[in-house]
């Protein structure tokens, strides 16, 4: 995707492709999980695709993203190798980090996707530091930190945002507010409604945006990224969104209601974009279906690659402790 002010049909088709790839990938994994075929843990992002895609569509390849325990969407949107992340989930030698990482620790350094972090909030000061390094080196790269609503309550959020603000670091803080931290509803862990309001505490711009609308995500991200690139400092972007599936493997979501769930599915970002493309912009239904089939094939190839890949050697357990 290329950066542009007016959103073209081409951009929308690319966004549709990426969101579909993420959704279908996650659903495919989910089905395999139900069959007991996925090792380790699993944190999925169905419903949150628009944030990943909208943000990453404004980034250059050499910009860095720092993701979380729920990394698949971000990684795919940044262009990571689907085969390598799938092999990583299966703990294979061909995995993006050789099987050492697992589902929560995906990376693709060739596209600026750093190892995703499973300590909630930890990537906030880290992304800030990368941005400070860019500034120091006179580069116009930016860093992005993804995190959830729950992460906004941890000390690292406070310290990281404040440091970024005083340092005027080229970093964008992307809070995916999906209303829950694991099973805990945001209303029981903070008295505010919009995490974006916390930006004021650091003298930083903060915006609360519909995370189910990829175009809205794109526009807001574009502004923040340009701002950062031009040396005008960080932004806190909060996207209201929802995770359709459980927090992690085997979570039946007993803590939330079906009505709430349905109300978000009704605003599904992929279906919204499909409607826009077909109804408003006259794209043929078939064209989208073809895209989806292409995604499906890519996914199946990735899983096949992963399953066929060799296990890491025992020796590799001892490699790369020190550089």
């Amino acid at each position: 995707m290329t950066i542009q002010e007016t959103i073209s049909t081409e951009w929308r088709l690319a966004a549709f492709r990426q969101m579909s790839l993420i959704r279908r990938y996650e659903e495919h994994l989910y089905l395999l999980f139900l069959q007991g075929l996925v090792p380790g843990t699993l944190h999925q992002c169905q419903g949150q695709e628009a944030v990943a895609v909208g943000i990453c569509s404004t980034l250059r390849r050499d910009d860095l993203i720092y993701s979380t325990h729920r990394p698949v969407g971000h990684l795919i949107a940044k262009g990571a190798s689907l085969k390598a992340i799938t092999a990583e989930i299966w703990g294979k030698a061909t995995g993006c980090v050789g099987g050492k990482g697992g589902q929560m620790h995906l990376a693709d350094f060739s596209v600026g996707a750093m190892v995703s972090n499973a300590i909630v909030g930890a990537n906030i000061p880290i992304a800030t530091g990368s941005a400070m390094a860019f500034k120091l080196q006179g580069l116009d790269r930016v860093a992005v930190s993804f995190f959830g609503d729950g992460a906004s309550n941890i000390g690292a959020f406070h310290e990281g945002l404040n440091l970024a603000a005083v340092q005027n670091a080229p970093v964008i803080f992307v809070c995916e507010n999906n209303l829950y931290a694991a099973s805990t509803r945001i209303s029981s862990t903070t008295r505010i409604t919009d995490i974006a309001d916390r930006a004021q505490a650091y003298g930083m711009p903060g915006h609360s945006i519909d995370g189910m609308d990829v175009e809205a995500v794109y526009r807001s991200a574009l502004e923040a990224v340009e701002r950062a690139r031009q040396g005008r400092g960080p932004t806190l972007l909060e996207y209201k969104t929802y995770r359709y599936r459980g927090h992690s493997r085997g979570d039946p979501c007993g803590y939330r209601g079906n009505d709430e769930h349905q109300s978000w599915i009704d605003r599904d970002p992929i279906e919204r974009l499909r409607t826009r493309l077909v109804a408003d912009l006259g794209v043929a239904v078939d064209r989208l279906a073809t895209i989806e089939q292409e995604c499906q094939r890519e996914i199946e190839a990735a899983v096949e690659f992963a399953l066929a890949s060799p296990e890491p050697t025992a020796a590799s357990c001892f490699e790369h402790v020190f550089a």
Binding site: P39, G40, T41, G91, K92, G95, G99, K100, G101, G102, M104, H105, N117, A118, I119, V120, G121, G150, A151, N153, I154, G155, A156, A181, A182, S183, T184, R185, S188, T189, T190, R249, G250, D251, P252, G254, Y255, R256, E311, P312, A314, S316, C317, F318, V321
Partner: protein, 336 residues
């Protein structure tokens, strides 16, 4: 009872018998939720209300900090980190506050808190499976305990909650024996009868799990079970191992270990923590100081290597000490 149930039972009894006991942590009391990461607190908020089973924000530092403050103001908090690895986010409150306040007050305040930490490798990677014992055994002012059976888990948790000191309470994920969708796939299965009544196991004791004359194997948590399996295999080779479960690392009953070593003349230490600077190093050093002349062989340690914890099952198997490694290392003590 599984260990998860035994721990729950301990908390239930503690809360029933003392109104100042309360629990705090992430996702521990949410209605319709998990009962913490490993079902341990399931149902307790129904029984005792959300005022005593407090779901906190993701704020590990404040969880432990609030526990310190509550303990100093007359309550007995039981705080949980969802995974033991997250305690590093709260380390100042553990090391600089909880551990030191009794001393710094010259004995005028107590900090009776329990900090529960699920530890152990379970295919979640480097940030969700560390065994963190030795960060705490090295911090004066903390008691550090780590049960290996449901029976001990219940009795030691009750004792820990009623202890007037901060107690780090380590729970191994593969020993929880939870049920249903949240059960760990590699769980160790064992049956122990756990009485439903109120009993305490004094902190500071070890348990001799198997008597033997040829080599002393000191282990904790999951490694106790592996050591016991290893002992059976060693026995087939004619080596009778004495297996000591160091369910309490601080205070440490070094005397019992020493006496065992005097009998066996050989010491093997088994831990899931990293080799360098694990609690095993201290047990070795104490033995080298106190019982050197009884030893017929070098003191050996079987531990996790000095690498971060890898995620893939195939690598985790290399990382976590196995029955085979215990057997072969113990055998090597008898090499001519």
């Amino acid at each position: 009872m599984s260990m998860a149930e035994a721990l729950r039972d301990a908390m239930r009894i503690a809360m029933q018998t003392d109104p100042t006991v309360f629990l705090l942590g992430e996702d521990i009391g949410v209605t319709g939720g998990f009962g913490g990461g490993f079902t341990v607190t399931l149902g307790l908020s129904d029984e005792f209300g959300h005022e005593r089973v407090i779901d906190t924000p993701i704020s590990e530092g404040a969880i432990v900090g609030a526990a310190v403050g509550a303990a100093m103001a007359g309550a007995r908090p039981v705080a949980e980190m969802q995974y033991g690895d997250f305690v590093f986010c709260a380390m100042d409150q553990v090391v600089n506050q909880a551990a030191k306040m009794h001393y710094m007050s010259n004995g005028q305040v107590c900090v009776p808190l329990v900090l529960r930490l699920p530890v152990g490798a379970s295919q979640r990677g480097a940030q969700h499976g560390q065994c963190t014992e030795s960060f705490f055994t090295h911090t004066p002012g903390l008691k550090v305990v780590c049960p290996a059976t449901p029976y001990d888990a219940k009795g030691m948790l009750l004792a820990a909650i009623r202890d007037d000191n901060p107690v780090i309470f380590l729970e191994h994920k593969l020993l929880y024996g939870g049920k249903g969708s949240r059960k760990e796939s590699a769980s160790v299965l064992f049956g122990t009868d756990v009485p439903t009544d109120d009993y305490e196991i004094p902190l500071g004791t070890v348990a001799v799990r198997r008597e033997g004359t040829d080599v002393t194997i000191v282990a904790n948590m999951l490694m106790v079970h592996r050591a016991l399996s290893a002992a059976e295999l060693l026995s087939e080779q004619g080596i009778e191992a004495e297996v000591i479960d160091v369910r309490s690392l601080v205070p440490l009953d070094i005397k019992t270990i020493e006496q065992s070593v005097q009998k066996t003349s050989r010491l093997l230490i088994v831990e899931e923590d990293h080799l360098t600077g694990g609690w095993g190093a201290e047990v070795s050093a104490l033995t080298a100081e106190r019982a050197l002349h009884y030893l017929d062989a070098p003191i050996l340690r079987v531990a996790a290597p000095d690498t971060p914890l890898p995620c893939a099952a195939s690598l985790e198997r290399v990382f976590v000490p196995s029955v085979e490694r215990i057997v072969s290392t113990a055998s090597s003590l008898f090499a001519p």
